[in-house]
Symmetry: C2
Subunit: 306 residues, 2 copies
Amino acid sequence: MSDNGTPPLCVVGTLAFDDVETPSGKRDGILGGSATYFSVAASHMARVGVVGVVGEDFPAEFRAVLESHDVDLAGLEVDPEGSTFHWAGKYEGDMDQAETLVTDLNVLETFAPQLPASFRKCPYVFLANTDPNIQMSVLDQLEDPRLVVMDTMNLWIDIAREPLLKILERVDGLMINDAEAKSLSGEDNLIAAGRALLRFGPRFVIVKKGEHGSFLFSEKRLFALPSYPLETVVDPTGAGDSFAGGVMGFLAGTNAQRVDDVCRAMLYGTVVASFTVSDFSLDVLGSITRMDLDARADELRRFVRV
Amino acid sequence: MSDNGTPPLCVVGTLAFDDVETPSGKRDGILGGSATYFSVAASHMARVGVVGVVGEDFPAEFRAVLESHDVDLAGLEVDPEGSTFHWAGKYEGDMDQAETLVTDLNVLETFAPQLPASFRKCPYVFLANTDPNIQMSVLDQLEDPRLVVMDTMNLWIDIAREPLLKILERVDGLMINDAEAKSLSGEDNLIAAGRALLRFGPRFVIVKKGEHGSFLFSEKRLFALPSYPLETVVDPTGAGDSFAGGVMGFLAGTNAQRVDDVCRAMLYGTVVASFTVSDFSLDVLGSITRMDLDARADELRRFVRV
């Protein structure tokens, strides 16, 4: 395990073997997981520390992909007893939602994240989708973080609402998709839903709408951004986590945290997600440069200028 | 019939009795129709001439609503043999689509629009959704219009594709919703669909996406605009025609026609549609002022600024 000091940005999330089928093709056993997409997406703008767990079966070449992006793996636990988390899913038609075929939690079932000492003073933290009790235990290990943003999903909204509401009182930002925003808030209208979620505690709420872009809600401003216009989407897997990585990478890389900064960061989240979905796994996301991001961010700015 | 000279903007479309049911309530026999929504929406920015037909049953107070917005009714035919077009529809859930319950074409069945002499040199023309053969006959009556924009719907894409493609070669702009754009182009991806439609002839294509806003496609630029953020939508009827009225009203009112002007005009289309959907019929749309439009257009600009 390397120790390069405290990384400016940490993510707690999954590393996975994915089997993915889309209208463009089928790939088995490819590198996936929320922490994977997040950290590689963010790595173009800030050094990222990963907190997660894999099994002994996690291959050296997958670890090497992360290391090639200077991702700090001091928080990556290898569980000698189990296998790496495995997800299989399928996308059809306009690919707005995955049909999950298999979820083998494996090493995730007993995972209790322990932050390495070097991560505890990390200023920018992303809590990817997981049990809110686990998210809370991570939050308790942090020493005075500057900006904590979390994701969640319908499963936790349904079965763990109480701990979810507790942690929402303690984070700066919530990132969530449109269906989840409606479900968590109990509002049918998305604008009403976003505003209602602010009352749960976060200073800002980002609602991800897939091909329809994203909204930011805060006390002082509402902001809308379309997705980057793509004629072809090969595999939507990882789009949301890449978006989060782009947002948090931009903020950590510029040491920014105001709402206006978050809006600008959403440009980078959107752009990095557009690279992710243009191929399977990290095939494109892993090979782009900061210049590619800047060029598409400029394009996206022109796309919305009026 | 009044003759106030050539209006800067004409619309060929319907005037209707609507029965509408939404989660907010139910109204019967209210004033509706594409030309109605279009002309009142546009009237805040330019004087509009209406070409359409009603029956003897069309009440004086509905005519008075249009006249109170200085709409030129020289092209409004009253068919003594028939009843006014009647539509009944219902919206549920997130109200993204109407379920049509009744369509009584009535006087529309035999309508062959004749432009009054004062309308033939009209520079800005909107051909609302109708049989493309009728749209073509109107186009043939115009003398050198500056900007002609048309709407269409799935019915004509399915049963009148040939005349539709012919008229597309002759108009400047096409306004169409997302499902229609995909169906007409044969493309599943909306960005690919918009680009494909440009190849049918129009200089620009505006794709309306309801609550998700709108796209503009042209050779030289793509443009995206979200819808105005509303917490409550009472009745979506007329949103698309109001949008068209806002766009064309802005262009006719400023004598503009470049693609960048069309993008700015979409701000006004979006804003005027947001007033339309906040109540039934013209209950709000009919009572706003140009200042209300400008204020929301400024808000919408701030909503997308990054």
